[in-house]
């Protein structure tokens, strides 16, 4: 079945609403300004209007209510919208939801899902372009899933809504919402917490997540076509749980790792991945672990300026080439 990313999410929500009466939605925009997103979610929201709670522009309050609803036995899905708006809700997201189960001595589960649309969306400028996964990664107690494909968008959302008993930040990316793939809904899903080898290769490992996955695959195609270099591409899928083993095993094979990351470079998500490899794959590394990330500046509006900062397939490919030319001094 061919599905785009937005359709896959909407289908997961629909099936979850059908399967469990305790699932309901707070807010109902989900896919922001994307036409595909609106097309996918509008009928869903119409069909289940009694299961949708209207949401004022009160991110902090809404995030707390999702937590509270989870405490009273429901499984709410809150649409926070653009990931930047999560900052308004940070006190609840980073200091309430993730602590409750632990603080209760393991008695109180919090099955709430927070929908976030992350990323440099194009003309979002400084305040609407945040990638918040590195920050949230430093919050123990919060699950962090970042599907890169329609298949994962579907399976991970169903898992969060129907199976997980812990708070989950479900992070989609503005630039993925229209991506269309063949999805086999019946196929057993790769477990949450397992990374996927999206492309096999022998020459270097590209450890990607979210929108970096299709860009890494494009870079890998180019490296193969133009330089005969076979890159292995890993889709991390979730940053918490974090599948360190799959990364390390791949680097044990290839000896080189490149980490494209849409976060700002310093203290971005890529830092954890690089630090992990630097330690656990030390003996296998033939070259230093490189990161290609968004520079440490706010995102500017002008398309000319914004595109200077984007981590593109070209930048990934050229960094890979530089790494392959590395000579230990």
């Amino acid at each position: 079945m061919k599905l785009n990313y937005s359709q896959a999410m909407a289908l997961a929500v629909r099936e979850s609403l059908q399967q469990d009466p305790n699932v309901f939605l707070i807010g109902s925009i989900f896919a922001g300004l994307s036409a595909a997103g609106r097309a996918a979610f509008t009928p869903l929201v119409q069909d289940f209007s009694s299961r949708v709670v209207p949401a004022p522009v009160s991110e902090l309050g809404l995030c707390g209510t999702a937590i509270g609803a989870a405490l009273s036995g429901c499984r709410p899905l809150l649409d926070i919208g653009t990931a930047s708006f999560a900052f308004q809700a940070w006190a609840q997201l980073a200091n309430e939801a993730p602590n409750i189960h632990y603080m209760s001595g393991g008695r109180t589960p919090v099955p709430a899902t927070f929908y976030l649309m992350t990323g440099i969306r194009g003309a979002g400028a400084a305040q609407h372009s945040h990638r918040i996964q590195a920050m949230l990664g430093n919050v123990p107690g919060l699950q962090l899933v970042l599907p890169a494909t329609p298949g994962d968008a579907y399976a991970m959302l169903k898992w969060a809504l129907l199976e997980s008993s812990s708070p989950t930040a479900y992070i989609s990316h503005c630039q993925l919402l229209e991506d269309e793939h063949e999805v086999d809904l019946a196929a057993p899903a790769l477990p949450i917490g397992k990374a996927r080898i999206s492309r096999e290769g022998r020459d270097l490992t590209i450890v990607a997540h979210s929108v970096m996955v299709p860009r890494a695959l494009a870079a890998a195609d180019r490296l193969a076509a133009e330089h005969g270099i076979e890159a292995e591409v890993i889709d991390m899928r979730s940053l918490c749980p974090l599948d360190r083993e799959t990364m390390v095993r791949s680097v044990a094979k290839t000896g080189r790792a490149l980490i494209p990351d849409e976060c700002h470079l310093s203290f971005g998500a890529g830092a954890e991945l690089a630090a992990t490899l630097a330690r656990d794959a030390f003996s296998y590394l033939k070259a230093p672990v490189h990161r290609v990330a968004t520079p440490d500046v706010p995102i500017p509006f002008s398309p000319v300026l914004e595109s200077a900062l984007i981590v593109t397939p070209e930048k990934i490919a050229s960094e890979a080439l530089a790494m392959l030319n590395f000579q230990k001094s």
């Binding site: 937590i67 405490l71 429901c74 609840q92 603080m103 199976e163 997980s164």
Partner: protein
């Protein structure tokens, strides 16, 4: 309500909180547990009269000043104290401490120590109960400083918009502003003429009640909780308490030592500010004096109730102090809940 048994029970419930908190102060001073903490002395009547009106499926949310709410709702004093001392037998395995005491079994699943933190959560719990068509309602207890926080405002607005069954109980125990000294936690720094002006602006029916007057509290909560139940919508109440002198310093004290039942029979406590408070503002003494005057209670029964409570709390202290420390390995367990099987 003239049933003496009911009055004795209520007295006992209030005394349990007072005697418990005294032991908390004593244990802290004796080095029994580290860190900052807050006691509920002087506010007991609020928790007790609210909880009298609740049903098992109702939920409660509270703050750092939570001991009284848990006790009034029926939590085990021993397991609470064990938690405050950080022991393995604590309600939360030693992980919450005094600041986050919670007990899911009695409908208190999570306690936030952030000012205003629990208010959106409590509102969401009421939304969840409504979604599940549960007969339950939610009560949220919080301090006056919560009204400084945007979280309060957003939560109350959402409750109004969504029509969810919740009672907001603001326990205003602030030092009158003219008495506030620098370095103390600020509170009641709201520019409203009175706290209830804010929820009223959001069309939440709101009342003020005297936290030292048990009869007034009973009447107020009986009415408001019935309204919340039948209308399935929100109510707000400001309970005005005069801060107990032991709660004025940054760290709680026991001025005048343990509370003395003789104060209900004419004895005068020292120091002066405690005497003034005992004269007018202590809900427990006010209640006792009323019962004695009305002949609903006599001296012997009062002392018997106190003795029973003291024994109970002594047992709780013993249980807590003789409880084992948690296994250090427990520190890294329990971050995530086990997944559901679907």
């Amino acid at each position: 309500m003239e049933d003496p048994v009911k009055h004795q029970k209520r007295l006992e419930n209030m005394l349990r909180i007072r005697r418990f908190e005294e032991q908390v102060v004593r244990l802290s001073k004796a080095g029994g547990f580290p860190g900052h903490y807050h006691v509920y002395i002087g506010q007991e009547a609020t928790a007790v009269t609210v909880c009298e009106q609740l049903e098992p499926h109702d939920m409660i949310f509270t703050t750092w000043r939570n001991h009284g709410h848990l006790l009034a709702r029926g939590a085990s004093p021993g397991r609470m104290l064990a938690e405050i001392l950080g022991r393995a037998t604590g309600l939360c395995r030693g992980k919450s401490g005094t600041l986050h005491l919670a007990d899911k079994e009695i409908g208190m699943p999570a306690t936030s120590a952030m000012v205003g933190g629990a208010l959106p959560i409590a509102t969401g719990a009421a939304l969840g109960l409504k979604h599940r068509r549960s007969p339950g309602i939610v009560v949220a207890f919080f301090g006056d400083a919560a009204l400084d926080e945007g979280a309060f405002y957003e939560a109350v607005n959402l409750a109004g918009l969504w029509k969810v069954p919740i009672l907001y109980v603001c326990e205003n125990n602030s030092i009158p502003p003219q008495k506030r000294r620098r370095g103390q936690f600020p509170s009641s720094s709201l520019n409203a003429a009175q706290l209830i002006d804010v929820p009223r602006a959001l069309q939440i029916p709101s009342e003020v009640v005297d936290g030292a007057d048990v009869d007034a509290l009973c009447g107020c909560f009986r009415k408001l909780i019935a309204e919340v139940r039948t209308s399935a919508s929100a109510r707000f109440v400001e309970v005005r308490c005069t801060r107990w002198p032991g709660n004025v310093p940054l760290w709680p004290e026991l001025p005048g030592g343990e509370w003395n039942l003789e104060w209900a029979f004419g004895a005068k406590p020292e120091p002066q500010d405690l005497a003034a408070w005992a004269e007018k503002s202590d809900p427990l003494l006010n209640y006792l004096r009323g019962l004695l005057e009305a002949g609903t209670l006599d001296r012997d029964i009062a002392f018997a109730v106190d003795a029973r409570v003291r024994n109970e709390i002594a047992d709780a202290v013993h249980f807590a102090e003789s409880s084992p420390w948690p296994d250090p390995a427990e520190a890294t367990r329990g971050t995530f809940a086990a997944e559901r099987r679907t």
